[in-house]
């Protein structure tokens, strides 16, 4: 029987099935971070249980760490030092490789996992973080879990899960040069809703997906959880094999014969297929408090369809009919596991070159990892950001979410390359507008939501 890529990955990790309908899956890699990982480690310690395969587990410091230059363990997040210190201690006690503050490879978990070859085609990987689906872009079975499940995976190298259905999102045609993977993701979620995937595993397919570079594929898969996908996948191809080659934890000789089989068979059945014409995707921005509440940058705020949308508009301080390109911004943030890899910073820098951020706009760039930061500096991108008036920071999650420390002020409007515009996500009362790096850069320059073409 022809199988989907997701089913192949699932089958190759299935140890057993339980009478009540769940499968026991083998977990090849566990990744932790200091926000949720420390609790899992301490609770294992308290129970006197070992980590079953410490060599297959990794830990990053990304969520709580400060990103201001010259950082140490001190962080503005209340109680933050304890998250760092106790996670570090737990990881050390179990012999888990930790990408700590000051480590040359430190960065946001999902970015480090790709950069270090921890996530590879055909592997299963779990992390107590919902954006783990990012790594499906490499053809890995990447699953975001809670803390208790991460603890279970550490102790048993397994996870119980009911097999989700496979769905396909096929994007054919050619993406406009003004549109990116982020715009594609925002378009998809706006068209089909924040619960559009209904818990299925989503495979992105089609010529426009194949045409994306690997980093853009990660952006697309990253946003899948905002679409209620169990995880995302893209069949790995030569671009992925090139990307993976030579990474620290990748095998010296890639098992290409195996990896080439990681694709949905012809005739494999998807429970549902969504088709998107890439040519219909334009530069987008969200106007509300769900990633699904978005429109083209050149468009207008739509009339609310229901009470939730009305509530979102009230929170966002916008009215139906408002021209999005006239909406002023107080801050611009380029960062996060969605859109702060080297190619993202290059796209933003291309817009910022020889320009200055509009007066009064606070502009901040936080590279997604320390290697990204290093590579960007080697190309002189940091100069372009700084000359334009951006702060240039150390790597971490930073202002992607608010935890009581550094943040934006209530009522401030932020254009952001992140993935969540939920109420309060970037601070109480803060209004977040999600967009691509190019749109965030252009908006910072013009002081209003903008495409580069409007400058």
């Amino acid at each position: 029987m022809p199988r989907t890529l997701f089913d192949k990955l699932w089958d190759s990790h299935r140890i057993a099935s339980d009478e009540s309908g769940e499968d026991l899956l083998y977990v090849d890699r566990v990744c932790l971070h200091e926000r949720t990982g420390g609790i899992a480690l301490e609770s294992l310690e308290a129970r006197g249980l070992p980590v079953r395969q410490p060599g297959q587990a990794f830990c990053t410091m990304d969520h709580v760490v400060d990103t201001r230059p010259g950082r140490g363990d001190r962080t503005s997040i209340p109680g933050g030092e304890a998250f760092i210190a106790r996670t570090r201690r737990g990881a050390r006690a179990f012999g888990i490789r930790t990408f700590d503050i000051g480590d040359a490879e430190q960065g946001i978990s999902h970015v480090v996992s790709a950069e270090q070859g921890i996530a590879l085609p055909g592997l299963s990987l779990v992390c107590p973080d919902s954006h783990t689906c990012t790594l499906g872009a490499l053809g890995a079975l990447a699953l975001g879990v809670g803390t208790t499940e991460a603890e279970h995976a550490l102790a048993t190298s397994t996870l119980w899960l009911a097999r989700p259905a496979s769905r396909a999102v096929v994007v054919d045609g050619v993406l406009d040069s003004g549109a990116s993977a982020k715009d594609l993701a925002l378009h998809l979620i706006a068209e089909h809703g924040a619960d559009g995937a209904e818990g299925a595993a989503v495979e992105f397919r089609g010529s426009a997906v194949r045409a994306l570079d690997v980093e853009s594929r990660m952006t697309l898969c990253n946003m899948a959880v905002e679409f209620a996908a169990a995880t995302a996948l893209i069949a790995p191809d030569a671009k992925v094999f090139d990307y993976v080659m030579g990474r620290a934890h990748a095998p010296p000789e890639l098992p290409l014969d195996d990896w080439r089989r990681l694709r949905s068979d012809d005739g494999a059945r998807f429970e549902r297929t969504i088709r998107i014409d890439a040519a219909a995707v334009d530069a987008r921005v969200t106007w509300g408090t769900s990633p699904a509440q978005g429109a083209g940058v050149t468009g207008r705020v739509p009339a609310p369809r229901d009470g939730d949308a009305q509530r979102a508009l009230d929170y966002a301080g916008l009215s139906p009919g408002d021209l999005l390109s006239e909406v002023p911004v107080d801050a611009a943030f380029i960062g996060s596991c969605t859109n702060a890899r080297l190619s993202d910073l290059r796209r933003a820098a291309a817009v910022l070159r020889n320009r200055r951020v509009a007066p009064g706009v606070a502009a901040i760039c936080v590279p997604a990892s320390t290697p990204v930061k290093r590579a960007a500096e080697a190309e002189g991108l940091d100069r372009i950001f700084r000359d334009a008036g951006f702060e240039w920071r150390e790597s971490g999650c930073s202002l992607c979410f608010y935890a009581g420390g550094e943040g934006f002020a209530p009522g401030q409007r932020v254009i952001s390359t992140t993935n969540r515009n939920f109420e309060g996500r970037q601070g109480p009362g803060v209004r977040s507008h999600l967009a691509s790096p190019a749109v965030v850069a252009a908006s910072a320059i013009r002081g209003r939501i903008s495409t580069p073409g409007m400058l």
Binding site: S20, Y26, G55, G122, T148, A155, T156
Partner: protein, 209 residues
């Protein structure tokens, strides 16, 4: 974990769709490296007119006396979407919630519920709304009884079936410790692993890599 069979309690309708885990527990309320001490931060953005001073917002349902002691939450579609933070479930449980009824759940949240003995009951939107209307007509007295053995919700004389995966139902009823349950299969896991490493040696990383 405390086994779950049947629960009767005050139900609070919070019917907005896409209530995300940032709303259930804002990240700034996760102050300690702990599963505890989170109930105060539950729905902090909505519950307090001033979250810093903990001044309650009287318009928020859970602050109203009619819903005092609520242990069942009626929610909208895609309840618990967003961040994987298990703190959302810990906060709900510590606050006293035993059941969340919604048309659909965020997948990670749903699994986190099972891991912590909180029952996520799936009921079609129209029926959640009907339950909410019945409850709202006299919240303190119109209690719901959620029966996990029969998978039904009793509202007065009415009965509404709910959906839950059989594996989840089993775990909640037994109050299973998941790690212990899985480690009973340690040999099977080791055998699978041996075969996997033999067939795909590159999967195995050296210890302490």
């Amino acid at each position: 974990m405390e086994p779950f069979t049947r629960h009767t309690g005050v139900a609070a309708p919070l019917l907005k769709a896409n209530i995300d885990t940032d709303a259930i527990i804002p990240s700034r309320e996760m102050r300690r490296v702990s599963r505890h001490g989170l109930a105060e931060g539950l729905f902090a953005n909505w519950r307090y007119a001033d979250a810093g001073a903990r001044r309650p917002d009287p318009t928020f349902l859970l602050n109203q006396s009619a819903y005092a002691g609520a242990s069942i939450l009626l929610g909208g579609a895609n309840f618990g979407c967003g961040s994987s933070r298990e703190h959302a479930v810990w906060a709900l449980a510590e606050f006293g919630m035993r059941v969340v009824v919604a048309p659909s759940f965020g997948a990670i949240f749903q699994k986190n519920c099972i891991a912590n003995g909180l029952l996520p009951a799936v009921v079609a939107e129209g029926e959640v709304n009907a339950l909410a209307r019945w409850v709202e007509s006299d919240p303190a007295r119109h209690r719901l009884t959620v029966d996990l053995v029969e998978t039904t919700i009793h509202a007065g004389t009415g009965k509404t079936p709910f959906a839950i995966a059989e594996a989840h139902r089993f775990r909640l009823i037994e109050g299973l410790d998941p790690i212990r349950y899985t480690l009973e299969r340690a040999d099977e896991i080791a055998e699978f692993e041996r075969e996997r490493f033999a067939a795909h040696p590159w999967v195995r990383l050296p210890e302490g890599a």
